[in-house]
């Protein structure tokens, strides 16, 4: 089983990298981009085959290491 984890900055937390990317897009002539938020994408190969157990395990990994919950949100997708 594979888990896809997206880690993103919480709403309201300044994202200077996202702002720099938005600026670069504008300078390349791509109009209409109102905001860019940069995050992280992690792919985990899991030995677990039970979806509920896998979900719980990955949630614990996110809370303990993969996300800093002071500033980041995370989402988990099992495939």
């Amino acid at each position: 089983m594979k888990a896809r984890v997206h880690v993103t900055l919480k709403h309201g937390v300044l994202d200077p990298q996202g702002k720099a990317i938005a600026g670069a897009l504008a300078s390349l002539g791509f109009g209409g981009v109102e905001d860019v938020r940069q995050g992280k994408y992690l792919e985990l190969e899991l030995a677990e085959t039970d979806a509920a157990k896998a979900q719980a395990a990955v949630k614990a990994m996110c809370e303990k290491l993969l996300a800093n919950t002071v500033i980041e949100n995370y989402s988990i997708e099992l495939v």
């Binding site: 937390v13 300044l14 200077p16 990298q17 720099a20 303990k64 290491l65 993969l66 800093n68 002071v70 500033i71």
Partner: protein, 230 residues
Amino acid sequence: MKAAVVVFPGSNRERDVALAIERAAHRPASYVWHGDTDLPEGTDLVVLPGGFSYGDYLRCGAMSALSPIMRAVKDHAARGGAVIGICNGFQILAEAGLVPGTLMRNASLKFVCRDVHLRVEATNAAFTSLYQPGQVIRVPVAHAEGNYFADDTTLDRLEGEGLVAFRYCDPAGQITPDSSPNGASRNIAGVFNETRNVLGLMPHPENMTEDVIGGTDGAILFESLVKALP
């Protein structure tokens, strides 16, 4: 004062800080590998030095915060033992939950390496007792992720309880946006935990301890510790 400097894979300021401690304490500091599980017997001060532990992978300090030695460091702090984390060490303390908040990418997106001015905001702690309240000092910074962030509730609490240790300021001691090298919330450069025995600090006092390199403002921090932890 018996000091232990924790060395993580990628630490690079451990010798600088050990030298600063040796000069102030007239005895050498011990080095402790991050994979160890115990601090040396009788350790008074634990130092988490600057550097790039684990190559800053995932997030600065995230992996080091889970190193085996950190359990002993947390126990030491819980007993009231002194702990200072400088630069990457501050990031490790924040990731470990030993000080509030976190360190984000500098607002400028640039690595900043220069001297800054700091205003000493609290002198009622072992780390700062030999400074004058409101004293302006000059020390270097060298970091890409020193932008201190905490939510407004936490920041209000830190200020209300006098747990802000140092703020970036101009040479006259004014707290201005331009005097911050990284965009930190409310110009915060260093914070204490709620019992003031743990200090997280972004600038490098250990690199301003000799007149020949520009000043001794940083040495006072280590002399304060020696006075408090003889």
